[in-house]
């Protein structure tokens, strides 16, 4: 069931599980997850709502301690919030009182209390890469949902993290915007390779973006299936109409709806 563990594994989860309530009678949110993610791999996780996808993500980020098993990054166990992790949330969660530029710089301001001129330059570059340079001085509420989420991604990239954790980042967006921003993400990822863990409930999105798709079961969440996506990169709008794409999505759909049959 698990991917072939090689010594090149960047993020490694071994027998990881979590239970929110210390009472042992309550069910585990996540249990028995073994997973190896390679450096600069794009991994998507799909599963029904409440299957513990977010719990998994929080354990990798160090925000949540696993109650069983161990998470390690580059061979070192994770025991607290990590510097080299960027998180993108379901909602953009920008600070409404700061303009776009300051929102992007917020992690620095928040972590160190200040930022330098060079940091501002870097923020400018990132915004430019995301096609947001002309919006740098706008307030978040002047931006559409899609653009706000782009700012959220840029913000996560500011500290140049090795790992990018994305928790259903596009689920609040409409289908068209969602598709567009997905391609934008791929472009940014190809320009600045990161290890990405991308949580979504959209099968099509997972297949379109990821190198590998993991399927999680209902609570208690555990890894059911793993699917390598062999669609060529760079992926574009035309990828969607490839028969192979339809085939892969359908296979995943089967796994999720009738896991026993698959």
């Amino acid at each position: 069931m698990t991917g072939t563990a090689t010594n090149r594994s960047f993020v490694r989860l071994s027998g990881v599980g979590h239970r929110y309530d210390p009472d042992p009678a309550t069910p585990m949110a996540v249990t028995g997850v073994d997973l190896d993610i390679q450096r600069h791999e794009f991994v998507a996780v799909v599963g029904p709502s409440g299957c513990g996808k977010s719990t998994l993500l929080r354990m990798i980020s160090g925000l949540l301690k696993p109650t069983e098993g161990e998470v390690s990054v580059f061979g070192r166990p994770v025991d607290g919030p990590r510097d080299d992790v960027g998180i993108v949330f379901q909602k953009p969660t920008l600070l409404p009182w700061l303009n776009v530029r300051k929102n992007v710089l917020f992690p620095l301001k928040h972590k160190y209390g200040r930022y330098s001129h060079d940091d501002e330059k870097r923020a400018g570059e990132l915004l430019e890469m995301a096609g947001l340079e002309s919006f740098a001085d706008k307030m978040p509420d002047e931006l559409s949902g899609g653009m706000q989420q782009r700012v959220g991604i840029v913000r996560a990239l500011l500290l140049n993290p090795d790992i990018l954790l994305m928790d259903e980042p596009f689920s609040a967006l409409d289908a068209m915007t969602r598709e567009q921003i997905g391609f934008d993400l791929l472009r940014i990822w190809e320009e600045n390779p990161k290890t990405v863990l991308f949580i979504t409930h959209s099968i099509a999105e997972a297949v379109l973006l990821a190198d590998r798709v993991l399927v999680m079961s209902k609570r208690p969440g555990t890894l059911l299936e793993m699917l390598d996506v062999d669609l060529p990169r760079p992926r574009t709008r035309h990828t969607i109409s490839e028969p192979r794409f339809a085939e892969l999505t359908e296979r995943l759909r089967k796994h999720i709806y009738e896991p026993e049959a698959a």
């Binding site: 559409s144 289908a175 068209m176 915007t177 567009q180 409930h201 109409s241 028969p243």
Partner: protein, 289 residues
């Protein structure tokens, strides 16, 4: 369409064609006629410009377009909920007054379930009947049938908050069903649900349409959903909101989930996507998607 032909993973048995009302030979009567409708808001925003559309008996029409293209505005006008600035709207070839009389019933399903939080599911579903002063013995039966059809049997005494998002939406659909409407208007009904729930409800809607012979106008953001469900996809552009394309999906009902992985489906999706791209390019500001 130059998609390479591939064999589906599981060979799909050819579905038996359902003789839909529209194709049954009966004179397909126009249920809804929108002609030259403009809608200008108080602040000068042109929400709709010259919208024209005819919906015939038994059709499933999806309205698809970028945000701000006026598809919800158009749908509300179709429901008689908004006034038009210019142009005409006819229901069953007559004025709005006819709506609600026998054979001319409308029902509306909103983006959110919009259930009354203080009332149990049964009472929520029964509401349209209560508003029409239907006797309780009659309405109870209808409510039971509707709940059974949407698969909420046994949840009739629950409160909305006790149901999941998908189940709330089912209750909302049941509420639309109880008056046995002849035209069902749905405004992005599944937009707030996750993809898996959404797929399930899509199949349910198709099943209910078959059982009840509904005519449906359906607003959505999703190309896949539009192609999967509709007999026609109407593509709209923004600023000003207008209709730019009308694509027929020539796939007979009933449709099974296998339709989703067919080349045909992919082809339609591409066609609609391209129309949508063109429509998005037409707006004044491309950035503001």
């Amino acid at each position: 369409m130059t998609a390479t032909k591939v064999t589906p993973l599981n060979p799909v048995p050819e579905p038996e064609t359902e003789p839909s009302v529209a194709e049954a030979g009966a004179p397909s009567r126009p249920i809804l006629q929108v002609e030259g409708v403009d809608k200008i808001y108080g602040n000068g925003t042109v929400a709709l410009k010259g919208a024209g559309l005819t919906v015939k008996q038994g059709e499933f029409v999806s309205l698809l377009g970028p945000s701000g293209c006026g598809k919800s505005t158009l749908l509300r006008i179709m429901a008689g909920l908004g006034e038009v600035t210019t142009g005409t709207v006819k229901w069953w070839e007559q004025d709005y007054d006819v709506v609600g009389s026998k054979g001319c019933k409308l029902a509306f399903v909103f983006q959110n379930a919009t259930l009354m939080p203080w009332a149990r599911v049964r009472k929520n579903v029964r509401l349209p009947l209560d508003l029409e002063h239907v006797s309780s013995s009659e309405s109870e039966k209808k409510v039971d049938d509707a709940l059974e059809m949407v698969g909420l049997k046994g949840f009739d005494e629950s409160f909305p908050r006790e149901l999941s998002g998908g189940m709330q939406m089912r209750a909302s659909i049941a509420r639309a069903m109880v008056t046995e409407p002849d035209l069902l208007l749905m405004d992005e009904p599944f937009g707030a649900l996750d993809e898996m729930t959404r797929n399930k409800l899509n199949d349910d809607v198709l099943k209910l349409k078959k059982e009840n012979g509904w005519t449906i106008v359906f607003v959505t953001h999703s190309v896949y959903e539009a192609v999967y469900l509709s007999s026609r996809v109407v593509v709209m552009a923004a600023r000003p909101g207008r209709i730019v394309d009308d694509i027929k999906i020539d796939k007979p009902y009933p449709r099974s989930p296998d339709f989703r992985i067919s080349t045909e489906f992919a082809g339609y999706c591409r066609q609609v996507s391209q129309a949508l791209e063109r429509a998005s390019g037409m707006g004044e500001s491309k950035e503001n998607c």
